[in-house]
């Protein structure tokens, strides 16, 4: 059975979710991965969307963060202030799932502007949304982003969401309660913060990927773990579940 790098990335992300965990889910890839996890090894995964839906169990992939199917299937729907204040902020959520336009060596994320001048950006991106506080308050964060030198930069142009700041100890100094990015899952492999330096380090490649590819797709000299793992190939069940999800949801560009 063959699969795409995109599929491998989503499946690797789904696998990272422990059954029963409470997961704060962004729309797009994180939502696909979380819903895949719920359909495979983690049926009791608790999906929480920033629209206020807690325990959503969508039968099909939602196309927006506020789809009716999320409200209809949720254990409860709360207001947006409540979801941030009572549920996210105090650290009740195990995993925050984020994407990124840029991510840097220390896992800091940019979704605001590309370019040096905030007031006159080269590219204006959508902005922060819920990400700064998801990155700050979830017990840990998983980032899903395709690996490329444009996205993996030495230093993000704008810190929208804090990873490890400029290195070890910064999160504690800033008073951030969550652990920060535990995994960065790409189309090539998985990066984890080095326990000593907090620098994102390639710890795993997906099947068939040469670590040199990952280095080439990274805008800084990529550290590679001494014992580099290889992601187990997608199972037939995983691929079937993912494809069924995507088939129901329609063309990917609609998400």
């Amino acid at each position: 059975m063959s699969w795409s790098a995109d599929e491998m990335m989503t499946i690797a992300a789904a696998r990272a979710l422990r059954d029963g965990a409470r997961c704060f889910v962004g729309i797009g890839r994180p939502s696909t991965a979380a819903n895949l996890a719920r359909r495979t090894h983690a049926p009791d995964l608790v999906l929480i969307y920033e629209s206020g839906t807690i325990g959503a169990k969508p039968g099909t992939l939602p196309l927006s963060i506020g789809d009716g199917v999320l409200a209809e299937t949720a254990d409860t729907v709360v207001s947006v202030p409540e979801i941030f204040n009572y549920w996210l902020q105090p650290g009740r959520i195990d995993v925050g799932f984020l994407g990124a336009a840029q991510i840097d060596r220390y896992g800091n994320i940019n979704t605001t502007v590309i370019g040096d001048d905030y007031r006159s950006p080269r590219v204006r991106l959508p902005g922060a949304g819920g990400a700064p506080e998801i990155a700050a308050s979830c017990r840990e964060v998983i980032v899903i982003v395709k690996q490329s030198p444009r996205a993996f930069v030495e230093r993000v142009d704008f810190v929208t969401s804090v990873g490890y700041g400029s290195g070890p100890g910064d999160r504690a100094r800033l008073g951030l309660t969550g652990r920060g990015p535990a995994l960065v899952i790409t189309d090539l492999g998985i990066l984890e913060p080095d326990p000593e330096t907090a620098e994102l380090t390639l710890t795993q490649v997906h099947p068939g990927v040469d670590p040199a590819q990952a280095s080439a797709a990274t805008g800084w000299p990529l550290a590679i773990a001494g014992t580099l793992g290889t992601t187990p190939a997608p199972t037939a069940a995983e691929l079937a579940a993912l494809r069924e999800l995507n088939r129901q949801a329609g063309p990917e560009e609609a998400r």
Binding site: I65, A71, V77, V80, R124, G127, E133, V159, T160
Partner: protein
């Protein structure tokens, strides 16, 4: 106080050039028809406030209504960028657009403070981000008991707050259900308000998950069936995902946008 009015009349009374206007709705119950009525009435120099500026704000910005945007996430959800927003920010077209940028948690708490009659809100947020340097409206605040430093943001109290909802009764009491986002907060935080509804009914039967805003907390209620389109009103309509897709092409090009504006929004049949 919950006066039932025509959309046109309500907007004419509420919205004025230079006003701070918030249209809210977190994917669901977005008051799109009300935004387009503001375009038709030619309002200018508005400070537009919204957590998630999407299509309706792209339209208002492209039509030249806005001088400033206060927001936390600006995009076409599930599709990509807002091209009219980008064109205004990057090129000043049709008029320059000043921006003030927050996180969702910050914006939500600014509405909470506004609804609660407080001048500011406190949260754990923004710390370590570059957002802090870009607006004077994010400041540290020290807990007087523990000495811990947290973040303060000022209350939002728009001149006009507008939301869409499912139903109202003839007294102007409003009922809404599903994802209600910051609907209650924006209505209560705003000096004056408008709720557009799918229908006005004799009696609001209780429903699971429904929230009521009493008529005396609302300035105007206007019956505008489908007034949230292409967003949706749970129990009344589905989200028109194709429209969000189609908007990408329309909004990419200034001429295409102008043609759409002239052909679709402006000629609305006027009573």
């Amino acid at each position: 106080m919950g006066e039932i009015a025509a959309l046109r009349d309500a907007i004419a009374d509420l919205a004025f050039d230079g006003a701070t206007v918030a249209l809210e709705g977190f994917t669901h119950l977005i008051p799109v028809a009300a935004g387009q009525e503001i375009i038709r009435q030619g309002r200018r120099d508005l400070t537009l406030v919204r957590m998630t500026p999407d299509i309706v704000y792209d339209q208002m910005i492209g039509a030249g209504c806005a001088r400033k945007l206060v927001f936390s996430w600006a995009g076409n959800p599930g599709v990509g960028s807002l091209h009219r927003f980008r064109d205004a920010v990057q090129n000043g077209w049709p008029v320059p657009l000043e921006i003030e940028e927050h996180s969702h948690a910050g914006m939500a708490n600014r509405y909470v403070a506004g609804a609660a009659g407080l001048p500011f809100a406190v949260l754990r947020g923004y710390v370590g981000t570059d957002l802090v340097a870009q607006t004077p409206n994010i400041k540290p605040i020290t807990c007087p008991f523990t000495g811990e430093v947290l973040t303060a943001v000022p209350a939002l109290n728009p001149d006009v707050g507008i939301v869409h909802a499912q139903r109202a009764d003839r007294a102007g009491n409003v009922q809404m259900w599903g994802i209600t986002g910051v609907h209650k907060e924006v209505v209560l935080a705003s000096k004056r308000s408008l709720v557009t509804v799918e229908e006005v009914v004799d009696h609001l039967d209780p429903r699971p998950g429904a929230m009521i805003l009493p008529h005396w907390a609302i300035t105007y209620v206007a019956e505008v069936p489908g007034g949230a389109h292409p967003s949706y009103a749970m129990g009344y309509s589905e989200r028109d995902n194709d429209y969000y897709q189609a908007w990408d092409a329309i909004s990419r090009d200034r001429d295409a946008f102008n043609a759409w504006l002239a052909g679709t929004v402006m000629p609305e049949v006027r009573a």
